[in-house]
Every structure is written in C-alpha cells, then in structure tokens.
Symmetry: C3
Subunit: 443 residues, 3 copies
C-alpha cells in the first residue's frame, strides 16, 4: 500500500476522472483498483445473471469507442474526448441515418446549452449520444454515421470493502459509490472522502466501534453487498453513512436521516446541530438520494443516513459535464474529511454504555473519585479546586446514573445541555476504572 | 329480497314508525323483519333468563293496549294513538285510583308542554303513562281508570346481522339499534342509514375489508351479540361504527372516537377532518352514547366509534314525541349514507399494507414504473410529462418505503399532507403488480 | 410502647439532639432505641467487614472524648460541649504539635465565622477538630495538645424498620436517616416526621397499601437495607419517600422525583401540584440528595423520591452548628406530617384499579347505581336531585371505563381536571359492590 496523505488526493482524482465507469465492467474495476493502492480493499464479484432480491445482475458493459459523424464527414462528438458523449450502458450500433431518425437518440440540456448531460440506460437496451445543446442546434440535415463499439459480456458486478477493527464488533459503515463516469462532486468526492476517513480512523489511538469502508456501484451494487452481508449487518450495524457530493462550494454539511430516524448517528447529528449551526439535517425520503435508499428499505431498515455538502440536484452541474474538478475543490473534500471525522468522534462517545456497578452508587473513594472529606467550604481546599472537583464528581454521578445499558450518552449530553466531547474525559476515567463499559447494543 | 333504492327509504320509514318496539318482543321482531325484506339478515335469539356478562336477558314484553280514562269517562291517553303514551316495558295494571295516587305514574315535560316523553322502566317493575304537560295540568281530581294490558313472556332477545365479504377476513362492523318505539332521528335514522350503506358497499367493485351489518336492541342487545361473537370480533375487527341520530338538520357529521382512540377509523376520521371541516370529532366518553359503550368497555376495548348528525341530547325532541319524520328528513338520511360511504372508501385505503419486496427497492423498470432513462431535462420528453412521471414515481417510492406491514397508509397521507384518495391509484397499481398487499393486521 | 402524640415530639427531640451519632456505633443504636419506644421497630445489624455491593461495612466508631488544648493549657474545644467539634469517625490521637502542623486538621467556615462545621472522614483514616472561624483566627503560635479518645471496633451497622400492613402487599416505603450528630433540620426532622406518619397511618380505618417505616444511617445504611430486602422491594414497592430537612421555615414542601419519574408517587405529586401551589417538584438528580440516590441507582431504579421543606444546601446552617432547634421548628415538623399524610391519602386513591366486570357495562341497576327510569326531565324528580344523580352516575361510568387494571386513577383525575379526593366516594362505593378492586401492579 502506498503511503497516504491528504495532499495526494488531487493526483488520485486526476487518475480517476477520465476512467469510463459504469455499474459493471472494466472502468469500475480499474477505479476500485486505484483505491486499492491506498487502502486494503477486499474485492467481491457477483456473477452476471445472479438474482439479487428483485433484481438480476446485468452483463458487464465494455466500451471501446463511440463516435457520431456528420454529413460532411466531420466528427461531431467522440467518446475519446469525453466519455459522457455516449449514453452509459449503450448497446453497439454502426449505421447511417437521417437527422430526424437520429434525434430521439440525442440528449442535450436546453437550459444549459454548453453542458454535456450524463445519461444512462441500464435496464432497457438503447443507444444514444449526449452533446451540448448549442452544438445540437447547429446540426444540419443529411446522412449521419452513428458508431458505438460496445459489448455486453458475462462477468460480474464488482465491489470492495475493508474493516478497521475496534473494541466492539459493532460496526459503523461508511460507503460510497463508484459508477459514474467523468464527474467530480457527484462521483469522486465521496470515495475520496472515504479514503481520507479510512486513514484518519485507523490512526486513532482507540476505536470503540469497528469501521467498515465500502465502495460499490450505486443501487445494484449496494443490493449485491446487502445480499451477501445483510445478516451480518443486521447483527452488528450501529450506524452508517453514505458519502456523496462532498466537494462542492457549500459551507456546511447536510445529513439525511435514516428511515428509522432514531439510530445512533441520527441522534448524534441532532445533538451536534444544536451546538454547531454549520450542520443541517434533512428528513429521510425514499425519493432522492443514494444507497441509503437500499439500506433503509423496509425489509432492512438499517440506521444508515447520508452526508452531502453540495447536494445532488441542487447545483447546475448535477449529472452533466459542468461537474468537474473546478467545481469540486479538493480543499473542500479535505474539509469534509475533517468534519466527518469530528462527527464520528462524537459518535464514539454518544452510544450506549453500562454502569458495571449499578446497584447503589459505587464506592467512589476507592477509585479516588470522591472528596475524602465532606467539607465543602472549610479552609482546607481552595474554592476553585473544590468547584472543579465538585463539577467532575457531578459528571461522574450523572454518567453512572444515566448509563443503565439501555440509554445512549447523547441523551445525557442533551439533558445536561453540554457538547458530547465534554463527557469524554469522565467516560474514559470510568472506563479505566472498569466502572463503565461500552454497551453491546450501541444502536 | 326486494330491489332497493334510496328513494324507497321514506316508505320503509312509514312502515316502521308506528311499530311499538322495545328491547324484546314482537315489535322488535316485526321491525327486524321489515329490514330483512331489503337485506339478507340472519336472525339470532338469546333465550329469556340467559346470563350475559353481568346481565340477564329479560322476558319479552307483549303490549296489547293501554288507556288512561278520566273521572268523566273520557279517554285521556290511549296507546293506540301513540305508543309513547305507555311507559315502555310497563307491567300490567287495571284499577281505579285518585289523581294524587296516579301522579307518581305520570310523566310529562314541563319545559316542553306539548311533547309526550319517552320513558322506559326495564329493570324495575313499574307502570305509568306519558303525556303532554299541558294536558296533565288540566287533569282534575276524581277517580281515574288505569289499564295496561301487557304481559311478560318467556321468549328471547332478538338481533340480526349479515356479512358482505371482502378480500380480507378483517371486518368493519356497522351497527345500529332498533328498540325505541315511535321516534325518528333517535331510532329509525340509524337503521335506515345502515340499510343504505349495505347496498352501497355490496355494489363496490372490490372491498379490501369484509363488512358486517348488525341491528339489535341497544345495550343488552349488543351485549348479547358480543357474548356470542366477541372472540371472532377480537380476531378480525378492524373498526366499527355505531350509526345513530343521522337524520336531523345539522350540516356536518360528528364522530365519537373509540376508547382506545387509535383504531383505523379513529385515524381516518382525524385525517378526513383535516381536509373537510364538515366532519367533527368528539372524544370517547362512557357517559353518553350508544352501543360503542359496550364495544369499548375495558374488557373488549374494541375500535368502535359512533357517528351522528344531530346528536342525542342536543335537540329538544330528544326522547320525546317531537322526534318525528318532520324533524328527521329522509334527504338528510341519504346525505348521511353518502358521507359515511365516502368515509369508508378512505378507510379502505387507509389501513396497513405491506411491501411484498421489502429488501431494497423493487426493480421498478420491470413493472414499467420507472423512467427507462435517467435523463430529467433533456429534449426527449416534455417537461409536464416528466413532472407527472416523477410525481407518480415519488408516490410509488413513498408508498413502498412506508408500507412495512406495521404502519397504516393514513400515516403516510398525513405526512405527505395529501388526502388519502390521492394515494388510491398508486396503491392499486402496486397491488396489481403484486408489489403491495393489504396487511393482515389492519387495526 | 409509649402512648404517642404530636405534642411529645419536642421532648423526643431534646433527648435525641445531644447524642453523637455516626454511620455506625453506640450513638446510632441509642437513637434508634429512643424511636423504638414509640414505634415497634425491628432491628437488623450487618457485621463489620461485610461486602455490600461495591462497599464494605466499616468498623463501629466509639468516641469517648476529644479535646484541643492550647499552649496556655486552656481548653479550646471540647467534644463534651458539642459533638460537632470532633471530625466524625476521627481516629484516635494524643500528642503535642505546633499550630502550623495542626492547621490541616482544623475545620472552620470563613463565611460563617460563628458556626462549627460538620465534617466527616469515613473512608480515609484522619482526625481533626471543627471550630468557629472567629475562634480559629485568634489562635496563637505555640504547643497544642490534641487528644481524641476514639476506637474502631468490630461490630456492625444498625438499621431498624417496621411494617403497617394494608389490604395489599404492595408497599409504600417511608425512610429517613439517623447518622448525623447534633443537627436539627438536616437530621432529626426526618425521623420525627416518620414517627408522626407512622401514628397517623396506623390509625387510618383502612389502608390499600402496606407502609414500611425505615430508619438507617445514610448511604451505606440504605445499601445494607437494600442488600437484604431489594428482592422483596422489587416485587412489592409501589413507591417510596425519603424524608429529610422537614422542619425549616419554608412554606411549601418540595418533592424530588424518582429516577424513572413515572412511579405512582411521582404522578400523584404532579397531580397534587396542579391543584395546590404550595407543593413544588424537583427533577431527579444523582448529584445531591439522600438515600433516594441509592434506591434510584440504575440497577434498582425503584420509584423512590424525597420530600424536603427547607432543602439541604439551601440554608446557611446546612451541615453546621447553626442547624439547631431554633432553626427547626417543631410546629413545622407537625405541619410536614399533616401535609405528607394528605399526600399519602391521594396516593391511596391514585393507583391502579381494575373493573371486575370489564365486559360491557355492569348492570348498574342491580347495585342501585343507575336511575331506575330513563326520564331525565319529567316531574318525578327534582332537577337538583337528578343533576346530582347524573353526576355520580357519570363518575361511576368514568371510573369503570378507565380502570382496566393498567391505568392509574391519577390519570383519570387529570383527564377530568378534578382533585383525586373527589373520586374517593365513587371508588369506595364500587369497591363495596365488588365492581372495582385495587390492582396488584400499583406502580
């Protein structure tokens, strides 16, 4: 594995951007392979034709070239220039036709006349070219040559993941998708943030949770992952985040709640929002979004939300060629890594803990956690020192009283009106004295 | 069975009105028999003396005539003129007495000097005459002849019901009572609405629920029904409505919630009220009302409310001779049928449904429920058409995500802020594609 | 047992005040013995060295005398004058030392220069003297003689309790502590109120609950009690109150909720507060308080709150010699007895009851609980009489409908907006008719 630093994300971006990814095929594999140079990904492949819940794994799409040539013999658009020019998952074609016959196979954006749209047709065989509307308007009648050199090949659907183990088998899932061709915010920002978080989290001195990092093609890819791992997830998943659209210019981060809305991360984000107004929260919806739609489908109903910065659908470059490296700033990607790492530190402390001596108050003086005398205002100690000691003692008592193995600490922080991180030293002291242990059901 | 139309309700009213009903006996049987000409009622009888929970089925009351004759030999009131003149369930009497001795057996309404009150004495043997207070004030001293020709006969308590089956065994109970003598709004309006609803519902092209129609004498009659059928009801009852006082002049309908307050119909009425301010809602109370007091007693606690238009106790003619056909308008009865039918259509769509492919999103393109291309703003489709398609797709996704077999659709409609009926086409499409099925626990 | 009257509380106070109590030893036993003259206490002793949850029962502390003598041979403070002068649980010492060496063993209150503080050192061996800060400031350099004649003796920790049985085995626990030396509000007021309540409650004509009265040394004493009785308590405890600081000048009483916050007494206090603004309520906190911190620790989580008048920590004399009989008025102690007795009367009626005939309404006329005729406005009864009868009938119906064996009556009183005591006559009538019984799960 290559030695990682955030400073290398720009280079990695440049390697990944031109690759023609799709939900299956060599572009996806090549992209996963580039990430595997920086993190210890395990690869899995689900064979073409496998039934996955209500779906079937499609053939691999191999695209070798595509070109639309005009009546005058001049090339109008060429896949070699920009892989967005061909409809993703297009079937092969090689023939001549009139402009009128061609029109239903052309895609452009009248409202964004310079942009090349991103169009897919995965589950109905079709072909087509995407181009700027300005260019389209200038096409003249005549005989056009349409040529797409693609194949559908039996193979499989690829995804890859790795686990950074923690003290508990309870897992936090961090996932992103890697199936869009040359786009930046709504494709590469998510996997790059995921890579950054991998390196942050593995360098933590301790992790209460285990962290799973997953890259897959969207929708069908997460369904393939779920088909193999949902039993495991249903036992261990404490929370999850789909990472997407994390490199745009927006200031704050936006969390989309999980369907159940009461998971650990759902609660921690609510808590964090109350203390930091650069976080915002959207309710769960099955209409728009990414793989959390699959994780949160009613049969799974897993506590998985998503995090975005400049959200899908909310910016002009969404799903077209304007979504490039200029729009997606690497510095914003790194800022997203920072902010999500900080959120996950709160998640670490926000879950369920159990008082190991729940019958009565523990005999705190045994652990040097109690003033040895009951004298509060006598001359033997400074007022400040007493004040600090009392404040710490109060937190010790609050945490021990709250933590009955069913309630999460974020509830206590909310009740006390203090940020979760202020509970961290007390929790660690109590863990050290074996008076507190992280719960087994951190959900 | 005679061919029904709403236009015949007036004639049926005229046949029913003069019959002297009580909680047992020939008047009740005759009235049930008149309804049985228009709907396929099954009759049940619980024998006199049977213990029913804390009660005992009383003897049948057979009344042949009753007359109060004055000192001058003139008939003051005669049962043959108006069956309200005799205390309902009065014991036989035939003797002469002074006005002073008679007074405790006379009932009149000082505040409504023209009205003959409706008085019963079911569970303490007594006799008496009811008359207008004006007339009572004019009585002069002297020797009165009281004559009531009634008998208490071993027999039974009668009730009758029928079922219109639907796709589910889950039942909606529609019940009304038929034990008051010559009164209109607070007697005949309920059974007439029940008959109208029977014919509406059986003509629906489909019914997700089965519908049970029940006519019984109030209180003891519903207890007799429950003693025989509560095990069945406890398994299948999705909701119920007691129909009463539905022919008066009030504009809107009023729903009294069930004791649990969270049943399917409770929720649908809350929903409907938010979109239609001619519905109102009363909380459950055990103090006033009809048979829902029995269905909602704590041992049964069934989800049964009641529906009224001009509610018992709220109009001058309540429980006296002013409650006649003039006060109870047949057109209002028909309007009540219309409105309650409409409510039940919402109940049909408001219950629990289950996504049959809950693991991940179903592969919607297989069912032609997904746009084949992801192109949202390209030239290949009109904006309106896209907008409509997206709106439908969003509803499809919302319904599939919501329906996990535990949550009812009225919750989703409330969340989306749209009337339930707008979900109907999407639900039917999903049912047709076997992606959705009505839940077995529609409560 | 001596014949009790509230008027004797002052004398008992005077006997108790000078005794040098601690968490173990003869002073505690002597004090418990004085209470045993007035109530039938059973004594228990847990031997020194016994492990109690996370604690160990300490040795008995026997103190025979203590004196600090100045360089001029004059006695500065003497235990014989005021037992607060010696640090409670001090180890023996007999030596001469300079003022500088002595200073860390002196305790005084700079902010209250006349007061002798109350200082303990139970779990770290130490010795010291407590004195007024004025006096301390006047100490001059020289050779001081410190003499404390104390012993640590194997023996045990004593507590005592008794039960006044009621109709149910469900218990209400009333507890107070008896381990502080010469202080009044924050020591003797609680046990005196407990004694008064014992005599009030045993004279009630009936008790739905059984009442347990407990006196113990604080913290370790309640843990010893719990170690022997928590299985029993976990089965039968309907609620509990720790009685403390009940003799001060404050007008109202203040209730500290139990940790679960939903126990019977928690709810009744909330109810009472809505009708009587001289009650107030504090939320549960593990930081400050008394033995409810042990009862409410997460392993036990029992429904025990505490009641105070002039609360610990809120008055200058807290934990020093200013907390004397002048500050703690016997009349206020008696007022606290009155008020808590009244609260407990509401607790008696506020719990869970079950309708014994829950299937349908009971046949109320069998029990003379229903008007025999349905005539509401006829001349046969006065309007007032009808009104009263209807009001009583309505309450009968409300209570029967509400009481399903899971809901407590305080909920109904809250719903009806009436004080609990107004439900008492109806509840008693229904109990008398065996239509209602107190629930077995009155929590």
């Amino acid at each position: 594995m290559k030695p990682y630093s955030d400073a290398l994300l720009g280079e990695l971006f440049d390697q990944l951007f031109p690759v023609c990814r799709s939900i299956t095929g060599p572009g996806l594999r090549q992209s996963l392979g580039l990430f595997a140079e920086w993190m210890p990904l395990s690869f899995e492949q689900v064979p073409t034709g496998t039934d996955i819940f209500d779906w079937t794994v499609p053939s691999e799409w191999h695209i070798h070239g595509a070109r639309l040539t005009g009546p005058d013999g001049r090339v109008i658009v060429d896949f070699a220039d920009n892989n967005l020019h061909v409809v993703n998952y297009a079937e092969p074609v090689d023939r001549h036709m009139s402009l009128q016959a061609l029109q239903p196979h052309l895609y452009s954006l009248p409202d964004l006349p310079q942009a090349v749209p991103y169009v897919t047709s995965y589950y109905r065989r079709n072909w087509g070219f995407c181009l700027a509307d300005d260019q389209r308007q200038r096409l003249s009648d005549g005989d056009y040559h349409v040529w797409i050199d693609s194949e559908f090949v039996d193979g499989g659907l690829d995804f890859a993941h790795c686990l950074v183990p923690g003290e508990s088998e309870q897992e936090i899932l961090l996932s992103s998708y890697l199936c869009h061709p040359s786009m930046a915010n709504n494709e590469l920002s998510g996997p790059l943030v995921l890579l950054g978080l991998y390196h942050r989290i593995r360098s933590w001195p301790r992790r209460r949770y285990s962290y799973r990092f997953l890259l897959n093609p969207e929708t069908i890819g997460s369904l393939c992952f779920l088909s193999r791992h949902h039993e495991h997830l249903s036992k261990v998943l404490a929370g999850g985040l789909v990472l997407t659209c994390l490199g745009g210019p927006s200031q704050g981060l936006s969390y989309k709640a999980s369907r159940q809305g009461k998971g650990l991360i759902d609660r921690v984000v609510q808590h964090v929002m109350a203390h930091d107004d650069s976080w915002s929260c959207r309710p769960f919806t099955p209409e728009h979004g990414s793989d959390e739609r699959q994780y949160c489908s009613p049969g799974f109903n897993l506590p998985v939300g998503n995090i975005t910065r400049t959200t899908y659908g909310s910016y002009p470059g969404y799903h077209n060629s304007l979504d490039d490296k200029q729009f997606m700033d690497i510095a914003q990607v790194v800022n997203s890594i920072d902010r999500i790492e900080s959120l996950l530190r709160s998640v670490e402390i926000g879950g369920v803990f159990a008082n190991t001596k729940p019958y009565g108050e523990p005999h705190l003086s045994k652990y040097a956690l109690y003033p040895t005398e009951n004298s509060s205002k006598t001359r033997s100690m400074s007022a400040d020192c007493l004040e600090d000691g009392r404040r710490r003692l109060n937190l010790v008592l609050q945490v021990l009283s709250h933590c009955d193995g069913t309630r999460c600490l974020v509830e206590l922080a909310d009740t006390l009106g203090m940020p979760l991180e202020q509970l961290s030293p007390v929790v660690e002291t109590l863990e050290h004295n074996r008076l507190l242990c992280a719960g087994s059901a951190c959900r």
